[in-house]
């Protein structure tokens, strides 16, 4: 596992992404964790401006971005001070010695220069004047100092690609594409990349610094690509739209971290029937989707916790008028602005419970970046089949993290075509399908089905406005029964790892999948007893979930929040589930899960 760290303007995310691509192409399984500050360009040299990109890769299946670093690239003292504690005591440390000036050391809080005071003696340290070597490499291209220094990240990438025996070709091609309009910049970056690589090959390195060789991971045969949660959601929505037989998707959104990349990704896919709309605010975004759904297309909106809060009244309207909608919540640390670029799972209560009145809707969550594809398709299926808004929970760490994905064959994907109502005879807008309890999707433009809907309570039998007390009771029950009935149309809960009964179930949801899975694996290898259960369907729960959990003596619920799923499980099944909660804005470490299991043996 390695991490690239530097100033937020040093290009660490790009460096990490390219290393990821080369690693994927080398056939390793991998998992990434980008960690960047909220400031676009924080003051240089400061600890709060440190941006980092971490990747774990290996020849066995990799489900998390890792606990302890094998190698750290620190472009300045601030990056070193923030990240050093995660580096293994005998790990490889690469630093740009030119950045360790007195000024930068002071900003990072160092009293003495750690490169010379012996405090880093246990590490395999490679202190190189990356700045000067980069300047020399790009000299032929006659760049200004500023542009020349911006190539430092490529030099460092070149060195690391050498260290791990990776190819550079994909990065060279990427540079040519990215700087197609400024070929000398592309050439300078390529030169820096090659110079870093050549430095590794030719320089006389300290005897304890060497190269690593990581064999390809054994994976199922097929065609693969690297995919981020963002891309997987975007493509899953398109696949869902196609499976539902819908011609158009209106994706309305308001910019918010970390949800905006879904908007950016879909904005480039107009030819696939996607119409993106940047609304004036979060409320307008959800309302435009409601209007779009009313008019017969797929409506999707996307935001993060604070934005979802603003959409809440609109969701109530979609629930009341029973219109299909997909709502994506890329969770971040909160409340309020909180830590917008850090991950958290703290919107589960908001998703399941956070509306006025009795207003249920289905909630599902993606476990990994590639899982986002399937979950997005499933959200479209549930929304259109049950005429309901569906909340899809993902989070900051999944949205930006990449992993290898075996690309599905589009023609083999499931189909769930929508049946629009066209028959006027016997029609009213709240006539329920006997199987799904869903009302008909009757779209403006259809002759003979002219009708009025709205937020006012409506009569069960006619769909007209009704203030009748018994009717409101009946309609509330009908809306609840419709959503609860979805439990009969989703898979039974399975056990991801371990026995289906025993002393301890470790129950998670969302992006903690990798850490919990590896933690349970570690425990099993140690001869301890534990099972991993991961819940995709959070409302309604799979119909066997209660019975499954009761087969375990203890239920441990790790969550990146202050205890939400644990309370829902206790309330639903009256079981003494206990929480394992971490609210640091960072993913769980495998060791944290493994230790919690060990304590409960």
């Amino acid at each position: 596992m390695i991490r690239f760290a530097g100033d937020s303007g040093d290009g660490m995310q790009v460096t990490g992404s390219q290393f990821t691509l080369e690693t994927a192409l080398a056939g390793n399984d991998l998992s990434t964790f980008p960690d960047y500050p909220a400031e676009i360009r924080a003051p240089p040299g400061t600890t709060f401006g440190v941006s980092a990109f971490q990747i774990q890769f290996g020849s066995t299946d990799v489900l998390t971005a890792g606990d302890q670093l094998d190698a750290l690239v620190a472009m300045n003292p601030a990056a070193l001070v923030v990240n050093l504690e995660d580096l293994r005591s005998d790990g490889t440390l690469v630093v740009d010695s030119a950045a360790f000036t007195e000024r930068n050391l002071t900003k990072a809080g160092y009293a003495a220069n750690p490169l010379t005071d012996g405090s880093l003696a246990s590490y395999r340290m490679l202190s190189v004047d990356i700045t000067r070597l980069t300047e020399e490499a790009v000299k032929p291209f006659d760049l200004g100092t500023r542009d020349a220094h911006r190539c430092r990240n490529m030099w460092a990438l070149g060195l690391m690609l050498w260290m791990f025996g990776r190819d550079r070709q994909a990065t060279v091609e990427w540079l040519q594409r990215k700087f197609a309009k400024t070929p000398h910049i592309a050439a300078a970056n390529t030169a820096a990349l090659n110079a870093g690589h050549a430095f590794g090959e030719t320089a006389e390195l300290p005897s304890n610094v060497g190269t690593y060789s990581v064999a390809p991971a054994p994976v199922a045969p097929g065609l693969y690509r690297a995919v981020s949660g963002t891309e997987a959601i975007a493509w899953g929505l398109i696949a869902g739209m196609r499976a539902a037989g819908l011609e158009r998707m209106v994706f309305a959104s308001y910019p918010i971290t970390p949800a905006s990349p879904v908007l950016h990704t879909l904005a480039g896919l107009r030819s696939h029937g996607v119409l993106t709309f940047q609304a004036e605010d979060e409320i307008a975004a959800v309302c435009a989707c409601i209007g779009a759904a009313y008019a017969g297309v797929l409506g999707v909106t996307s935001s993060s916790g604070p934005g979802i809060a603003l959409k809440t009244e609109g969701l109530g309207l979609a629930i009341a008028t029973e219109l299909p909608l997909v709502v994506i919540d890329s969770q971040r640390a909160g409340p309020s602005t909180g830590m917008p670029t850090k991950t958290e799972q703290s919107d589960l209560f908001q998703a399941v419970l956070g509306r006025n009145a009795d207003a249920p809707l289905p909630v599902i969550a993606s476990a990994t970046s590639s899982d986002c594809f399937d979950v997005a398709m499933e959200a479209v299926r549930l929304a259109t089949r049950y005429m309901t808004p569906v909340m899809l929970l993902t989070d900051e760490s999944l949205a930006n993290a990449a992993e290898p994905w075996r690309i599905p064959d589009a023609s083999a994907l499931p189909l769930f075509p929508v049946q629009f109502r066209t028959k006027a005879e016997g029609f009213h807008p709240f006539l329920r399908d006997p199987e799904t309890q869903a009302r008909p999707w009757a779209v403006p433009g259809t002759p003979g089905l002219e009708h009025r809907i709205g937020g006012l309570e409506r009569d069960y039998e006619t769909g007209h406005i009704s203030y009748d007390p018994d009717n409101h009771h009946r309609m509330t029950k009908a809306r609840a029964a419709k959503v609860a009935g979805i439990a009969h149309d989703i898979p039974l809960q399975t056990v991801a790892l371990g026995e289906d009964r025993g002393p301890l179930a470790v129950v998670g949801w969302g992006s903690t999948y990798g850490a919990i899975h590896q933690g349970v694996k570690v425990a099993l290898a140690r001869g301890q007893q534990a099972s991993h259960i991961h819940i995709r369907y959070l409302a309604p729960f799979p119909r066997n979930l209660g019975e499954l959990l009761r087969r375990f003596d203890r239920v441990l619920v790790p969550e990146l929040n202050n205890g939400q799923l644990v309370q829902l499980l206790r309330a639903a099944y009256l079981i003494p589930a206990e929480g394992l909660n971490q609210i640091t804005g960072k993913p769980f470490k495998v060791s944290t899960i493994a230790a919690a299991i060990a304590e409960r043996q």
Partner: protein, 338 residues
Amino acid sequence: MTATLSPSLAPKDFASDQEVRWCPGCGDYAILKAVQKTLADLGVRREKTVFISGIGCSSRFPYYVSTYGFHTIHGRAPAIATGVKLANPNLDVWLVTGDGDGLSIGGNHLLHVLRRNVDLQILLFNNEIYGLTKGQYSPTSRPGTKSPSTPGGSLDNPVSPCAFALGAGARFVARGIDTQQPRLVETLKRAHAHRGASFIEIFQNCVVYNDGVFDDFIEKSVAPEKQIHVQHGQPLRFGAAGRYGLRLVPGRLELEVVTVGENGVSENDLLVHDETNHALASLIAGLRPPQFPMAIGVLFCNPAPSYDALVEEQLQAAGSDRDLNALLRRGRTWSVAG
């Protein structure tokens, strides 16, 4: 259901089967009649027509029209209507709102739907009061309005709906009066013919909470001298037999009322209404009794491409490439052999 396809529908064919539940004597009844007559005169198809509203007395409107209708949430109708047009630009969408719904809680959405120029007819019923919540002052109430929430009189300055619309970049801005049915129907037809967002402020009398609030220009005895019905290309004349007119004060960007035939003033001295002139529209939109007449009719009409039409153009230009397999395989891929 064959009536839907019939080419000639009468105004009554645009009435729904729902009992109208506004207070007896409410101005909304007259507006409903005018709209139903407009729809019949235009020969629109019921299935292609959608009425969308927010919350408030005016927003009950869709329940009483036999087309498609959506009574949504407070202030958000412009956003929902935008979504409808993005989904299906061929639908003919009318938006019904009020002074509180459109300019208080929904002011932001009204601003953006106007500047985007989404192809809608936007009817803002202005009664200068909150009716449905029982009589609080509204953002168009005049200063000093006494209401349950302002027993000492309201303090804040009102917003002028037409000035707001012009400021937001609306390309069609008009005014009408609930009780002047023939004129209102003509204005509604103009709004319908306009491609893009058409904004119409309709003065609507609330008999229960604000009765007679517009009497300073609507009451019969003052109406001729306190209303000016503007028409493109015609001199700005009003009063009995067109006795008065509006002209620019020489050397100033300011209007004054003059009497035609007095002090050497002839019709040639009067301003001629040019509905494509934004500056003139802003001037006449700002006129207020008692010093000036209230301007009624089409104040501004200067079409520009609608947002939904531009969106469709971009979609057309992007072409149709529905190859999902190609999309998923775009960029770097690698094969793992079995």
